[in-house]
Structures are given as C-alpha cells and as structure tokens.
C-alpha cells in the first residue's frame, strides 16, 4: 500500500509513457490534498508546475467499480497480480463542486513497488470520462 496515512508523505510516481495529452510528462509527485480525512490526492508534474491533477481512489465514489487490466498494460507496469496495483481516477473540478466529475474510463494504475504508472484505457467497460462525483448514496 502506498503510504498515504501521514499528511507529509509525498510519493514520486513515474509515467514512462507520459499521459494522453501530456506525452512528455513523466515525473510526478503524489501527495495528499485538502484537509485531513479527504480521500483526494494531488498528482503534480515535477517538470511542469502547470500540470497537476486531482485524483481519488475510484471506489470512494463508486464502490462497485472494477475493471480488467489487459495483459499488455500489466506487463508494461510489471504487475504480477492485482494487489500490486494502486488505482486512482482523475477528478475534473468545476466551479460548482457538485458538477465535478471523475474519469472512470481512464484510471491511473500505479505499481506500488516500482512506482511506475500509466493511464490505462478501458474502452469496452462502458465507463464515462465524466462520472459525477456527487453520487446519491
């Protein structure tokens, strides 16, 4: 498990292939974001201070969320089993908090040991890049 319980922990994450739209963004830092107790984290580019993403484990808002990682992606990240991965979803913040959305179609998958990561595409899962955060629970 990536150590995220203490608020001072900053973890370095590397995206060997960059991200769609940001092919040259490789080195990132992952840090807790917001007051203690929020599940949100900030994934910010080490090389470009203007590139940063708010991320959240998708199960916080969608407990049923699941997907199958294709073999190619698993191999690229050196993942032998699901437990080796830590998953985040990108959050798009809007002016009205209740309009904010989470990207379930392209989750961020991180190898918890090597800290290599990639944004994987789940084309056949039927998920949206703009799933509402404000889910009636």
């Amino acid at each position: 498990m990536l150590e995220t319980e203490t608020t001072t922990d900053v973890v370095e994450i590397n995206f060997p292939a960059g991200l769609p739209g940001f092919p040259n963004a490789h080195r990132f830092e992952l840090a807790p974001w917001g007051p203690a107790g929020t599940p949100f984290m900030l994934l910010s580019s080490v090389d470009d201070p203007d590139v940063g993403f708010v991320v959240v484990p998708p199960w916080v808002f969608y407990p049923e969320y699941e997907f199958e990682l294709d073999n190619g992606a698993a191999e690229r990240l050196g993942l032998a089993q699901a437990e080796d991965a830590v998953v985040f979803a990108m959050v798009t913040l809007r002016d009205k908090p209740e309009d904010s959305t989470v990207n379930l179609l392209g989750p961020i998958v991180v190898n918890r040991f090597t800290h290599d990561a990639a944004q994987v595409v789940l084309p056949s899962a039927g998920y949206s890049t703009r799933a509402p955060l404000a889910v009636a629970s």
Partner: protein, 110 residues
C-alpha cells in the same frame, strides 16, 4: 514504360501524399480482406473482414505499444486536458461534500 518484372495486383493502389503543412507522410493504401500492412518491423495491421461499411482489423503489436481506437484516445486526451489544474487553483475548489461521504472516511485506499 514500367519494367517487366514489376507486377501490380488488381485492386492494389499505393499512393504517397506529402503535404507541406504536415509533418511526415500520409500513406494511402487499399487492402482487401486478409491483406495486411506493416508498420515498422513489428506492427502488423490485418484486414480480417469487410462487411458493409465496417472493417474488422486485427492488430499485432509488441506489448510495449498501446493500441487504441482513435476516438477513445482523443476522448482521454480531452478529459485529461479538462482535468488539469495548477495546484494553486485546485486548492480553491475543494468539494466539501466529499469529506465524509464514504463509510470509512475514505481512509481505506484499496
């Protein structure tokens, strides 16, 4: 006059179009079912079936290379661009409702 040893199969049409405004070549090829295209030394795109206005393609590529439907990749690109916030801006937009939405307070990161 074409040299005698060069044969062009019926239906095979190879054209190069180099636009001064774009980088790189745009290669236009025509293929039938069961014919293939090589990209580099290791990527093979095969036309498996042509049915009506749909073409079924088989892609063989090394595992280090991602293959996606273009519109899905474009969707992801756009979603990432929408999501980018510089850290300073993001701090102003904390969704308060998310603080204790989950039973375990969001501490159980799976």
């Amino acid at each position: 006059m074409l040299p005698q040893n060069r044969r062009w199969r019926a239906g095979q049409n190879l054209g190069h179009r180099k636009s001064p405004r774009r980088e790189g070549l745009v290669l236009v090829l025509t293929r039938r079912a069961n014919q293939s295209i090589m990209i580099g030394h290791e990527i093979v795109v095969t036309v498996l079936e042509v049915r009506g206005d749909q073409v079924r393609l088989g892609i063989k590529a090394p595992r280090s290379i991602d293959v996606h439907r273009e519109e899905i990749f474009a969707q992801l690109q756009q979603a990432n661009r929408d999501a980018v916030k510089s850290p300073k801006k993001a701090l102003d937009a904390l969704p308060d409702f998310a603080k204790s939405d989950d039973d375990d307070g969001g501490r159980n990161l799976h």
